[in-house]
């Protein structure tokens, strides 16, 4: 061993360095593996579903006892459900988050509310579904309708919207708020002119991500508003509707003799829809970040 030269590698550093490279490789491999399931799913869907995916499939109703035809009513239904649930959950969630983050101090009352929100976010969707049946369909006599289903979806997405909005609001630098305080701005003026303009990108991305979640859920809509099969399109929120997620479930498990390509093509449309919503949110975020003002 050469102990004379300064800065030469010792046995201990050699071992440390070896460990370092092992850990690094391991972490890298695990991360790379995460992409595999997504790729595999997409490949499978495209392989089996692409042949059936025609314009006609997208624009026509199911036919011949669901063993033929398209998914147009299901696409329309999903848009209804997502749209109405968002129209309910987004304003309530954002307003609640503003209150929690900007007005409510830290005391036991707000701690209970925060705890409730965290736990509500962890409730399984089938439980939301049962709650929706009990509360909206039966108790409020809304019947199985788009409204009941959307309310159920709204309850499900609300806690996540609140959490992501709060995070976006909290990310606005304290120094901006201080600037407002010393100029005698009221809380609302601070929120209106400084906090919201500087957090809107985060709020929007949080909300949009819940769109894709609402579009994909089956259980909450199954008992509350989505129908197996409807020959007509919904005219109002009091009608039932079809939904992509529900339709996929029906095709794959409830109806005999469905050609294999149909459920795959339906799944492809659903996944495509969700992914394009997510992509929009990523693009929106990077666009807004590029014009970020601090």
């Amino acid at each position: 061993m050469n102990a004379a030269l300064p800065f030469s590698t010792t046995d201990v550093t050699r071992t440390n360095r070896r460990r370092e490279s092992i850990v690094r490789a391991l972490l890298g491999i695990v991360t790379a593996l995460l992409v595999l399931p997504l790729l595999a799913i997409l490949a499978l869907l495209v392989k089996h579903g692409a042949p059936a995916l025609t314009l006609d499939f997208l624009l026509s109703s199911p036919a011949a006892g669901m063993t033929a035809g398209g998914i147009f009513p299901a696409i329309v239904g999903t848009l209804w459900l997502v749209g109405v649930s968002l129209a309910i959950a987004a304003p309530i969630g954002v307003l609640a988050a503003i209150y929690l983050n900007e007005y409510a101090g830290d005391h036991w009352g707000t701690r209970i509310v925060n705890l409730a929100i965290v736990n509500l976010a962890g409730v399984p969707s089938i439980v939301h579904a049962l709650f929706g049946v009990g509360a909206f369909v039966l108790f409020l006599h809304l019947g199985t309708s788009i409204l009941s289903a959307s309310l159920t979806l709204a309850i499900m997405t609300l806690p996540v919207i609140i959490a992501s909005t709060k995070e976006a609001l909290a990310a606005v630098p304290m120094s901006f708020r201080q600037a407002c305080w010393v100029l005698g701005a009221s809380r609302w003026q601070t929120i209106r002119y400084v906090v919201l303009p500087n957090s809107i990108q985060g709020i929007l991305t949080g909300v949009i991500l819940q769109v894709s979640r609402a579009a994909g859920e089956t259980a909450p809509v199954m008992f509350t508003g989505a129908a197996f099969y409807l020959p007509f399109l919904p005219q109002s929120v009091n009608d039932q509707c079809m939904a992509l997620s529900m339709h996929l479930f029906t095709l794959s498990t409830q109806v005999p003799g469905v050609p294999e390509a149909l459920p795959y093509a339906t799944a492809l449309v659903l996944v495509g829809l969700v992914m394009s919503v997510n992509l929009t949110s990523i693009l929106l975020r990077s666009y807004l970040r590029s014009r970020r003002r601090w």
Binding site: G105, P173, Q178, A179, V182, L183, G184, R293, W294
Partner: protein
Amino acid sequence: MQAPGSETQPVIVTRALRLSYGPHEALHGIDLTVRRGLITGLIGPSGCGKSTLLRCFNRINERYDNVTTSGEVMIHARNIYDPDVDLIELRKSVGMVFQRPNPLPISVRDNVLYGFRLHTASKQRNRETEGCELESALRAVQLWDDLKDRLGERATHLQLEQQQKLCIARLLPLKPSVILMDEPCSTLDPNATEAVEELMRTLAGPYTIVVVTHNMAQARRISDECVFMLLGEIVEHRRTEDIFIAPHDKRTADYIEGRFG
């Protein structure tokens, strides 16, 4: 402790001012008189309560949770802790500048006019009044010549010195009588520091300035009176020449000479 000669009227007078963050008392009974038109420097080692005391004068301590205050702070002969004091009016009258310049991420013009717009009915605002306020505020902080062609530029892109001057300028349309400054130069380079100090000297007189500083040389250069604080109490408050040349208290002398802090 002895108050210096009373050539001018008091603007801020505190009596037995105590403040606690939760169970921890940060100010233990402060009796202080700040005189009109002077620059009063607050000096003392880190954590002695300088910023806390400063924040009592515009009551923004209360934006932090768990703060309790007792005692009196008279500003223009009114106890600002009276229950019916309007905080918005108080903050218009007692402006504050922070350690890091914190212009809002909007244009220079909108920054300067931000407070003015918040507090002026839209009927009384037009291009002309806004233009006037903008120009006189920027002139008062010696930024008009540099920025008059860049009023639309984002304020966060200015040099730090300009940002800090802008933070002073945006207070002026609210017609404050007191300006509080918490280490206003500690993020600035020496040239910028000199410029801001010079600005402070020109503002003193029409405005009463209370400035926290860590920098003894700065306190000596700019302040008329100096307050030395230690562990939440005032040790000594006298004219700046006197406190630096012949401090009465041994702790003041030790601090000024750099034996601790």
